[in-house]
Assembly symmetry: C2
């Protein structure tokens, strides 16, 4: 079996990504990042999901990204918006996917995996520069010059199977693969037990995704 | 004045890089990474250098890269070699420059800097894949698709002014710019006060660099 590193945040997208990677018969090594994000309950959900999927290994990397700040998710003085933005929202975290993919690349090298899975999608989050297909492609090109294993001829592949799916299509895909989405959390301001606010961008996109897909929404709200 | 993020490890290369950036009249924002490296005394030296150069700001990011391991610098069970290797040495850290440059990219975005300086060089460390010119170029291409500021037309430049210099040439350059190299540390196994082992790869390259350059070697050795 081929090995893959799967970035796992505990949300709908990364969980679906993990299910897809397993369905493709990869041996999955999960990687979660504790970047001092506002919604740190997602790490508990990621741990639970990792166990449920029986991943080979689940690593959690800690980074004090609040030191850099620049986002409502890492700087507590910036308020999480409750209305949709027509520009890139303040929940965008500077260079987050570049940083996460770089850590996944380092992890992939130590376990000699050639595949990395990331649950980005360009449809619902079209405002995020690092969710665009051309960013993913360019990261892959760079990654193939970055590590020792690529010198010996191994090819690194960045897999983003959700890239062109809507949230509803992602949920439908995961539902067919047997995912229990009650184990996932999406809210930017989730309570410690995962209960969602219902009004942030992420909650609204999730809720609409379930509604459109026809899959029963298992989300627990605080109100 | 234009702003720059300078990756600062406390060694000869990054310190020279900082001096070059200041000489080019950049407002310098230093970034050091505490990645649980073996030679953590370098962070004390980086802090001292940051103060000496009166950088605008000096951020230190902590990452538990020992969780990933795969290198003699991050996995204490792997011994630091005392003889030169004909292949990529075990002190190579998987994806380190990719990870460091990604963090610098995030920092650059929050302070709206377009320039990042990194002290890699391809001559002495030709075995490291992420010290090659084509890696740096490819990272720059990717970076220009990765962040919000690049969407609004800003260009990110990865400056690697030491890329094609030998250690002796780097020391000569820094010496002309007035660097006091007694404030730097290179040893992979440096003591808390920076005293060097004298036998690791990094010590040998440093020592030879001073000898060839004719600049007095201020390094303090443990033995």
């Amino acid at each position: 079996m081929k090995r893959a590193v799967v970035l796992l945040s505990g949300g709908i997208d990364s969980t679906t990504c993990l299910a897809i990677a397993q369905d493709l018969e990869f041996e999955c090594f999960a990687l979660s990042i504790n970047y001092e994000q506002r919604h740190s309950s997602e790490l508990n959900f990621a741990t639970r999901i990792g166990k449920e999927f029986a991943v080979i290994e689940h690593k959690i990397i800690n980074i004090n990204m609040s030191e850099i700040g620049g986002s409502a998710l890492t700087d507590m003085s910036i308020k999480v918006p409750e209305q949709q933005s027509s520009t890139i929202p303040v929940t965008y975290v500077p260079a987050r996917n570049t940083i996460f993919l770089s850590l996944a690349l380092g992890y992939a090298e130590t376990i000699t995996a050639q595949d990395i899975f990331i649950g980005v999608n360009a449809v619902d989050y079209s405002g995020y520069p690092d969710c665009r297909p051309k960013f993913i492609k360019s990261f892959e090109t760079m990654a193939n010059l970055a590590t020792k294993q690529t010198i010996t001829g191994d090819k690194i592949k960045i897999n983003a199977p959700l890239l062109n799916l809507t949230k509803a299509q992602i949920i439908t895909t995961g539902n067919k693969l047997g995912i229990d989405y009650s184990n996932t959390v999406s809210c930017y301001k989730a309570a410690a037990n995962g209960a969602a606010c219902g009004v942030c961008d992420s909650c609204r996109i999730r809720s609409r995704g379930f509604a459109v897909s026809g899959v029963v929404d298992p989300t627990i709200y605080r109100i």
